[in-house]
């Protein structure tokens, strides 16, 4: 359930909700971290649930000593009212058998908040790509029917590739075709529920492999930015050496502590 930080509940009517799916390479979550950090979004509440493994830590987006001591938990909500953006960040994995109940609770909150649309940032195993997918862009999108009506033209102008259907049972040659998102975590469940509950939802994903997924996250936010224009598009100016996306301070030591000098 959503629990606001302050005393009063926030009005999210008409806002766009961005959220990650916990998926291969944690790309969606990394992308959401970039968005919160770059836009300096304000925490407005917690999505308190028994579906995610508990975890706590100090402020992952700290920029100074003063703001480094705010405690963060596993599911928090941030907003930027000037851009009518609200973001849900998930920081841990689902407890066994709790992913479906989580989707239900989440979508019920989305419906009751009257968000204009939901955008799920996700990823899928790159080794599952077919020959055509191997030769094309690694980015894909999916829209629920209720969102398709309103933004179909915009998406057409962006020349984006829609996620292709693949055989439901790969081993069987005459198997039916359906949307499969291997490594996507709850992405498929969210999309299916979004379709059946008539929620305006888009899924933006990238085909990735596990490893250093920061470049994948940067790619995914740039992809999202082509549509939402959250920040000014990255200029093609060769002299622009700085990335427009700000990496949070918590991204240090992603691959562990320093090495013992004795190793060398």
């Amino acid at each position: 359930m959503f629990v606001p930080c302050g005393e009063s509940a926030c009005d999210l009517a008409g806002f766009t909700l961005l959220m990650p799916a916990v998926s291969v390479g944690n790309v969606g979550q990394l992308a959401i971290d970039l968005i919160i950090s770059t836009l300096n979004m304000c925490k407005i509440g917690y999505f308190y649930t028994d579906c995610l493994v508990p975890m706590v830590g100090n402020n992952p987006y700290a920029t100074s000593e003063e703001n480094s001591t705010e405690l963060s938990i596993n599911a928090e909500v941030y907003s930027l009212p000037s851009k009518k953006l609200v973001v849900l960040q998930l920081r841990s994995i689902f407890i066994k058998y709790k992913s479906k109940p989580f989707c239900e609770k989440l979508l019920s909150w989305v419906k009751s908040s009257n968000c204009a649309k939901v955008i799920v940032l996700s990823s899928s195993h790159s080794y599952h790509r077919n020959d055509l997918q191997l030769r094309s862009t690694p980015f894909r999108y999916l829209l629920t029917p209720s969102l398709q009506k309103s933004i179909q033209n915009k998406i057409k102008n962006l020349n984006w590739e829609e996620m292709e259907k693949s055989p439901c049972i790969p081993e069987i040659s005459d198997s039916e075709y359906c949307i499969r998102i291997p490594g996507g975590g709850i992405t498929k469940t969210l999309y299916d529920e979004g379709c059946s509950k008539e929620i305006p939802m888009a899924v933006l994903l990238k085909f990735v492999s596990e490893g250093d997924n920061i470049p994948d996250a940067l790619g995914l936010v740039e992809y999202l930015n082509e549509w939402l224009q959250i920040i000014k598009p990255h200029s093609d100016d060769a002299t622009a050496s700085t990335l427009p996306w700000k990496m949070p301070s918590s991204w240090r030591l992603l691959f562990g502590s320093g090495l013992p000098p004795a190793l060398f």
Binding site: S68, L71, I73, F94, S99, G185, L253, L254
Partner: protein, 288 residues
């Protein structure tokens, strides 16, 4: 998939932990037998609070039954030994409840009768001031049991006027730092506190990108969300079994607001702790 040095292709574990979800998504519907097995396993893993004296279960959550101004929780054998020697030996504490739970980490097969010598989770209150509570938790509370534990202990009506203090240990290799962990002088103490905690911590705060999991994280998250003042003291150590130096590393906490007034004779308590650790050492060897 990933190729190893020898050229064999292996399935690399996914950091996002999505393997189970893929199985569920493949449309494998649960049979009634699967559901029954799952239901029975869930029942076996249920967290139950009961009174050992009367062998009856608590009908409501612990803090709904009693009023609480201070709640001190020790998670893990070193934190439990510390509180036992310094706090419990300085006053008269009465047992008010015990949490009975089973998971794969429990070494007992008999889930109906957990003996006091085994891993346990016991709740006490101070006889001279019954609103002061203590929890000695030396058993592992699994992921799927942590929220149940919270529900059974804290209940559904969070009380904002209590101060929660949690003590626990973690292995020093979990601590991320730009130096190598071998150069760290462990054990050392770090703290994490909720927004509403006004108590100045007795040590430095845990820096990002370090995080905490398990029961201490579950309690701290609950307190942060429901605006309860709470502070977690985390001891990073390279000895996870009961160890004198590790347990003594919690000593700075004795000067905190939460523990002040609850500790009488520090030198005496230190002796009690030494005896406790020694007794434990004699009992455990490679043959037991």
């Amino acid at each position: 998939m990933a190729a190893t040095f020898f050229g064999e292709v292996v399935k690399a574990p996914c950091r996002a932990g999505t393997e189970d979800e893929e199985e569920e998504a493949e449309g494998r519907t649960e049979t009634p037998e699967d559901r029954e097995v799952r239901r029975q396993l869930a029942r076996k893993r249920e967290v139950r609070l009961f009174r050992r004296q009367t062998k009856t279960s608590l009908e409501v959550s612990l803090l709904e039954k009693y009023s609480c101004s201070k709640f001190i929780i020790a998670v893990g054998n070193n934190a439990v030994a510390f509180l036992s020697s310094f706090v419990m030996n300085s006053g008269v504490w009465e047992e008010v409840g015990c949490a009975k739970l089973w998971n794969e980490w429990c070494r007992t097969t008999d889930t109906a009768h957990l003996s006091p010598a085994e891993a346990f989770c016991v709740f006490y209150h101070l006889k001279s001031n019954p609103s002061v509570f203590l929890c000695q938790c030396s058993c592992y509370v699994a992921e799927d049991q942590q929220y149940q534990w919270l529900e059974k202990v804290f209940g559904s009506c969070p009380k904002k006027n209590m101060q929660v203090t949690i003590l626990t240990c973690r292995h020093v290799t979990d601590y991320k730092t730009s130096e190598s962990t071998s150069s760290l002088h462990s054990p050392f103490l770090k703290a994490l506190k909720t927004q509403n905690s006004k108590e100045p911590p007795c040590c430095s705060l845990l820096e990002q990108p370090n995080i905490v999991h398990d029961l201490p994280a579950a309690v701290l998250s609950y307190c942060q969300v429901w605006k309860i003042p709470a502070i977690l003291y985390l001891c990073y150590t390279d000895v996870m079994k009961l160890d004198l130096i590790t347990a003594e590393a919690f000593k700075p906490v004795l000067s905190s607001r939460s523990l002040k007034g609850l500790v009488k004779n520090i030198p005496q308590s230190t002796e009690i702790l030494k005896k406790l650790v020694m007794t434990n050492e004699i009992q455990s060897n490679i043959y037991t």
